[in-house]
């Protein structure tokens, strides 16, 4: 039956499937503003930077995982800092809540600006949060299992889309790489990475992951690089300069897709985005609950899912009408320091502190 009181594990493939979805969600919303460059060819170069920087950013985390494989970043914080370690779960709970604001606000802007449905956008956002809450309540296994199926559907849709757009590509649309210098592509990479919480997710979940984690990480990162490069190539090939004017260029490109009797394949894009979005938000809400649970206990952890969802809903609703909030969410100033701290600085600090603690023990 369902209520088995056992420590449940997930496989490395399951974890990286969900992380793949998380990064795909960032990828599908990229535009010249969010990407930091008007020239989409720069984004191809930036995907390579993302690939390299992800490896570099993960190094402190891997060092901790190697040293203490049974502890996640929260437990490592308590181990190294004692009671002061409470700041680690609090920080990560806030971080995962804040990162959700970005994902949902982009989606709300899309549904209000591009689709303009008759249903109010807040209803759709609320529905996304309700389903995400349900997923978070059901737990990690439910999210990763559903994520596995959704990833398969997204991949099928991606292949279908690429096949249908391939014949619409025009070589004349391509511009030279790094025409404006490498700096732009590097900036784009940072913008992309700062909206991705993947390494922080790994930091919290690594002890419950079984299987070939290093291989999984490498495959995941490489697949993202190749996938992103293909998407950017196809986008440029199909629409060229037209993309610069679009708020959601990938959506525009998919609505041009046609394969035999199949037209207007933007429904495939929408399906992939929406299902991926709720998996991403569900995972982040689950991680919020994990952090709160560590500080305030089981019951508070469960309640925090609902509270996190409500706050996310309110903030994103405000952001759709607030220019200043949108500037904050879609620029690097909020998410870059947060993601850098969550994914790199905290693991680095804990690793160094752990080493120091060990050295002191040896000296004693």
């Amino acid at each position: 039956m369902s209520g088995q009181e056992k420590q449940h594990f997930i496989s490395a493939a399951q974890l990286f499937s969900v992380l793949f979805i998380g990064r795909s969600i960032v990828l599908v919303t990229i535009n010249s503003g969010l990407g930091g460059s008007e020239n989409f060819s720069d984004l191809i170069a930036s995907s390579f930077w993302v690939f390299l920087m992800t490896f570099i950013m993960a190094i402190p985390l891997w060092m901790i995982a190697r040293k203490r494989p049974g502890l996640n970043i929260i437990e490592e914080g308590y181990y190294v800092m004692g009671r002061v370690g409470i700041i680690i779960p609090i920080f990560y709970a806030l971080y995962f809540s804040v990162i959700n604001w970005y994902y949902l606000s982009v989606f709300q802007i899309f549904s209000s600006d591009v689709l303009d449905p008759r249903t109010p956008t807040w209803v759709i956002a609320a529905a996304v949060l309700v389903v995400a809450c349900y997923g978070a309540y059901k737990g990690l296994e439910a999210i990763v299992r559903a994520g596995g199926i959704i990833l398969a559907l997204i991949c099928a849709g991606f292949i279908f889309m690429i096949c249908s757009l391939f014949f619409k590509m025009d070589p004349g649309n391509f511009e030279p790489f790094s025409e404006d210098g490498l700096k732009i592509s590097f900036y784009s990479a940072i913008l992309f990475l700062c909206r991705s919480s993947s390494i922080s997710v790994i930091a919290l979940l690594l002890p419950v992951v079984k299987g070939k984690k290093k291989l999984g990480f490498t495959v995941w990162n490489t697949a993202l690089w190749i996938g992103a490069s293909i998407i950017f190539l196809v986008m440029i090939g199909v629409a060229g300069d037209f993309l610069k004017l679009q708020t959601f260029p990938l959506y525009t490109v998919t609505s041009m897709a046609q394969l035999g009797p199949f037209q207007r394949l933007d429904a495939v894009f929408l399906g992939g985005w929406l299902t991926g979005l709720f998996i991403k938000i569900a995972m982040d809400l689950y991680l919020v609950s994990l952090c709160v649970k560590r500080v305030l206990g089981e019951k508070a952890g469960r309640i925090s899912i609902l509270i996190g969802a409500v706050i996310t809903g309110i903030i994103t609703q405000i952001s759709t009408n607030s220019r200043s909030l949108q500037t904050l969410f879609f620029g690097p100033w909020l998410y870059f320091p947060l993601t850098l701290t969550a994914a790199f600085l905290i693991p680095l600090f804990l690793w160094l502190a752990d080493l120091r603690k060990d050295r002191k023990k040896v000296e004693k």
Partner: protein, 486 residues
């Protein structure tokens, strides 16, 4: 612990006790007789026993036997060991056992001066003969289906798996009905943890009566909207399942056998798949998955697309739909809801109506709903076509009909309110519900998620027996299973 209600040495005491217990039971039989000067009695229930067999196989031999022993115990032992030719014969010592036996169709002999009794298996009640199961019709394979008496069902399974490894454990559930339930498993294949869990769940059941499988299944299933307890009317299907490490639960008085754990993908497997050639079995397997998706999502998607996103439809199709819908008075979501409601009412009526009236239901359905409603301009022909497609698709996976029917209504409502977004989120909700549950420690969505490549040989496609036969995949070997392998 309660003291056992032991038989008395006095026949009179025993007779008075059983007479009081079966007071005003017109089918209770008490036949007193004498064995070389010692009083004895037969107790039985009329209608459950074969009287001819009692007369010829028990009463005659006893009365004619040269019983020389003078003590009641000696006479009892002589009868037990020498006099009778019956196969099914048990010695019992408690009054509760006597009652249990006679209610199960045994005849019980008690002898004055003996605090023991002999129970003879001479069941002779009328049963339905073994026939083809009506709910699991197969093109190839056995035509035998389970019947109501569980002992016959056990024999049907035993005949197919001729190994002492096949075990049957009996238990009684229902404080009033005292229904016999048998747990059946293959000892070498089943996980002991799974078995212990099933036993514990069944022992926990505290119901006054158990008259069908449905009484027990809520105690065995999870919280998913999809059924996690399999039901089969076919012995060959049950044998196949228990060979994979599952546990079968046979309930006396019902021709359905329950199987646990039952995974989601099993709803798309049928015994016919294994009796036909792999390429065709794979084709029908894929067809079932497509039909399931159509049955659940098509009406909701149709309502969502036509109402909110008509730009997604090809132009010619859009024009046809617009033409048909322009003459109807209701919004498309209400139209779809009403037709589905009417269809469900007709289906329910078709199931319950006496057979001679069945044609009337068909005529009303086909003519009134199908023809008149469209020609009167009440509903659009495209909507009717969608309903018909959906209804047909729902029958491809009959075991999923209940969740399909409910989800269909929900998706029409969601599609009518929130369009494609709503349908997609509804899909997400159903997916999480499906993936979140485990049945006895095995993920309900396995082996699709968590994924297992080896198991894929019998999920979306059905590989040849040359490959399937190399290794039987047991349920506890599936990825993500949290139960012991053996």
């Amino acid at each position: 612990m309660a003291q056992p209600n032991l038989l008395s040495k006095s026949l009179l005491d025993n007779v008075v006790y059983f007479k009081s217990k079966f007071d005003e039971c017109m089918d209770f039989i008490l036949r007193e007789f004498t064995i070389t000067g010692t009083k004895a009695a037969f107790l039985a229930i009329d209608g459950l026993i074969n009287k001819q067999l009692i007369a010829q196989g028990i009463l005659n031999p006893i009365l004619k036997a040269p019983i020389l022993d003078t003590t009641p115990d000696g006479k009892f032992n002589y009868i037990r060991d020498n006099a009778l030719a019956t196969v099914d014969q048990t010695q019992i010592v408690t009054r509760d056992d006597v009652i249990d036996r006679i209610l199960s169709g045994f005849v019980v002999m008690i002898v004055d001066g003996c605090d023991r009794a002999l129970a003879f298996g001479v069941q002779g009640f009328q049963t339905r003969s073994v026939s083809e199961p009506s709910n699991e019709v197969m093109q190839r394979g056995s035509r035998e289906g389970f019947v109501e008496p569980y002992l016959i069902n056990i024999s049907m399974i035993r005949r197919r798996l001729r190994t002492p490894d096949l075990k049957f454990e009996r238990m009684v559930i229902g404080s009033v009905s005292q229904t016999s339930v048998a747990i059946c498993y293959l000892n070498s294949a089943v996980s002991k943890e799974l078995l212990a869990h099933v036993r514990a769940e069944l022992h926990r059941i505290d119901l006054p009566s158990v008259l069908a499988c449905g009484y027990l299944s809520p105690f065995l299933e999870n919280k998913s909207i999809f059924n996690s307890v399999g039901i089969s009317e076919r012995p060959d299907t049950v044998c196949g399942k228990i060979s994979e490490g599952r546990v079968a639960i046979i309930v006396d008085g019902t021709p359905n056998v329950m199987l646990v754990p039952h995974l989601f993908i099993e709803n798309f497997q049928s015994f016919d798949d294994y009796a036909t050639r792999p390429f065709y079995a794979s084709f029908t397997r894929l067809l079932k998955y497509i039909a399931f998706l159509i049955a659940v999502f098509l009406p909701g998607l149709y309502v969502a697309v036509v109402t909110f996103h008509p730009e997604l439809l090809p132009e010619t199709l859009l024009v046809k739909i617009a033409q048909a819908e322009s003459s109807t008075p209701f919004p498309i979501s209400l139209e779809a809801l009403v037709i589905h409601l009417i269809y469900e009412i007709m289906r329910e009526a078709g199931l319950r109506v006496p057979r001679p009236l069945g044609h009337a239901v068909s005529i009303v359905g086909a003519l009134v709903i199908g023809d008149t409603a469209v020609s009167a301009g009440l509903i659009g022909a495209p909507t009717l076509f969608i309903v018909a497609m959906t209804a047909l698709s729902g029958y491809v996976t009959p075991s999923l009909y209940q969740p399909i029917a409910v989800c269909r209504f929900l998706f029409i409502i969601i599609g009518g309110i929130a369009g494609l977004w709503g349908v997609m989120l509804g899909f997400g909700f159903v997916l999480v519900n499906l993936c979140s549950e485990s049945v006895y420690g095995i993920p309900f969505s396995a082996p699709v998620s968590p994924f297992n490549l080896r198991s894929m040989r019998d999920v979306f496609i059905r590989m040849s027996w040359k490959i399937l036969g190399k290794r039987t995949e047991r349920v506890q070997d599936l990825p993500g299973a949290h139960i012991t392998k053996m």
